[in-house]
Symmetry: C2
Subunit: 378 residues, 2 copies
């Protein structure tokens, strides 16, 4: 892939302070709130060509380009750049690290001004609506009048959904990929076991581990558990089968022997280098409670005001948020006469498909953004 957005920098802005604290849905107030974000492309003079990218559970603001080493691009670099579906020659693309995250936006690892020490579990509980509140403050800060679109996969898609239904009129299009309007019991079960792995790590120390050893064992286990759900069974079979690691013969012991074990260990090890266990707890818990269509009467009332048009995408081998989750979103929106385009993309990679350059997927996103742009400039 040639081109790309090239060298970029993560920026930071204090969007809420003691005088204007962030009010959370729980009623709690939080200040200061600093937000890390990146932008690619240029904002038009009328401030109407912006596309907001919402990241998934373990993503960050660095969605595209690179920070000095072109071989280490942002997590959605294949989607964002000149001539790519989120075409930075045409669109002003923004991505921000989530509230509660650990990559530059205020989260449980930030200093609590009341104590001078990291919040840890004294950080307030968060909802997907709270993530959206912070994104909206950044949109205002950047002088964006109205979003052409918001787009996100998985937890990113959940933010897009919440934003579009809570704040009708703030975006022309909403692209919700491999997401869910409510986690199933099985989804919550995986999420709960991953959190237990962290909470039971003796180094977790009630969330106050920033001065000492970190709960790396628990966090790595959480990642390993979750990672199994990100891949389809078929892609795991194709990638690893039952191959033995670094040897002709099995060693018949409890050390890593099968390649799939080695892969999961690597996932666990590299994750603890880049992620904070407390952030993992807060963000997964917000997903568990997410249920924007929970009250049918309120949903109907709110959706009646929505003039955003939706593109909902799922992947046929995704068993974390299967197509059924997307269909549920589509059914609810359609029942309320909100315009929705739905497509199930065939791809073997499971939930992780939303991160990959799958031609039909990229064509669909590109075509949809074209249409949105044509509609808004008509």
């Amino acid at each position: 892939m040639s081109g790309g957005v090239g060298l970029v920098q993560t920026q930071q802005a204090v969007l809420f302070d003691e005088d204007r604290p962030l009010r959370l849905e729980s009623g709690a107030r939080l200040a200061p709130v600093e937000v890390a974000y990146e932008t690619y492309g240029r904002l038009d003079e009328d401030g109407a060509n912006a596309v907001f990218v919402c990241h998934a559970l373990t993503g960050d603001a660095h969605a595209a380009g690179h920070h000095g080493d072109p071989s280490r691009p942002g997590w959605w670099d294949n989607l964002i750049g000149p001539g790519r579906p989120l075409d930075t020659d045409r669109f002003f693309v923004v991505c921000a690290n989530l509230l509660g995250g650990c990559k530059g936006t205020t989260g449980p690892g930030s200093i609590d001004p009341a104590t001078g020490r990291p919040y840890g579990l004294r950080f307030p509980q968060l909802s997907v609506g709270d993530f959206v509140t912070v994104h909206r403050a950044l949109v205002r800060h950047l002088g964006i009048r109205r979003l052409l679109a918001a787009i996100g996969g998985s937890l990113g898609g959940m933010q897009v959904l919440q934003w579009a239904i809570d704040h009708p009129g703030e975006m022309h299009g909403a692209i919700v990929i491999a997401a869910s309007a409510r986690l199933s019991a099985q989804n919550i079960a995986f999420s709960a076991v991953a959190r237990e792995a962290i909470l039971r790590d003796p180094d977790f120390n009630g969330g106050d581990y920033y001065d000492g050893p970190r709960p790396d064992r628990g966090l790595a286990l959480a990642r390993m558990i979750a990672h199994i759900t990100y891949l389809s069974e078929a892609s795991m079979r194709a990638k690893f089968g039952r191959r033995i690691q670094d040897a002709d013969e099995p060693r018949y012991g409890f050390d890593v022997d099968f390649e799939v074990e080695s892969y999961l260990h690597h996932q666990g090890r590299s994750f603890v280098e880049r992620f904070d266990a407390n952030s993992y707890l807060y963000l997964t818990r917000a997903m568990d409670y997410f249920d924007p269509f929970g009250d049918p009467v309120q949903t109907a009332r709110r959706l009646a005001k929505v003039d955003t048009r939706f593109l909902v995408l799922s992947f046929d081998t995704d068993w974390r948020f299967s197509t059924e989750h997307s269909r549920e979103i589509v059914r609810t929106l359609t029942a309320a006469r909100v315009p929705v385009t739905f497509r199930e993309i065939s791809a073997p990679h499971g939930h992780d498909s939303f991160l990959l350059p799958i031609p039909e997927y990229h064509r669909t996103v590109a075509g949809y953004l074209d249409r949105l742009a044509a509609e808004t400039t008509a």
Copy 2:
């Protein structure tokens, strides 16, 4: 359900001793080997009405009847008893705790005569073939001439499969339920993560925890992870949905809040009361390496001698060992002209279905055993 086999006792026998140690497939020798088993019904004079029950990963010898409290029957009590599919008025039913287990058969928690202390991880690695070797010794010990059938679900079915192909002529029928001839990469991944939870528990202490605190946190986590794979997504949804535990309103915190969390916690807690972490490691690892059809040439040669007839059963909502795993067994046996009856049973309960009194399932097993009995007495 009326009747049942009533009060039973677990018996024990030393089947291998210093003079005649157990030779394992790895080449290691083990002695003494004591085996815990139960029997239900009576052995005919010609010793040909015996049905051997092979238990799954976390089962034990106590398959039917009760040990004093009729409200706490054995794990397969719905299948075994007078007038039940394994009809104890007609059949002599035997069930033994697995080698490497922790319910009366020699395992890593047993005393190593060389040191006078529990084996821990000095216990030798085991294979499914080793489990079968010990079962066969028990069969001889009990004076059984030839098994009418061996039957088992999950890891139990894997033992039945191994036994039937390794020792043609020792059983008339083999009933292999919700099993697999080789774990998939995804199966191994779940198994690996569950083991990691144990191995990373600081109380694991390299397997030498019998004198001190036990790795209960890790073992409970392992059970919670595995348990998710035992239930279908639909049965989890039907059982728990997104219901909140003991409260009208969510508490929005990291404590148990959803019913599915409470259920998994209960599973974890009760499991550590009855199971040994080292046994969990040994038995799951034996499953990972199980691959009786791995070498096609050898498989064809061995299966040419098999005169056992097979009943292979799967459950349509089982995603741990899906119907595809059973079809693979059926394909291999059929290609070698081994007589196989295959049925996929429709049941909503996922992998756990093999433990439940599902009418079509029980009728199928009962009918098959009838046919086997008719054939052998004809």
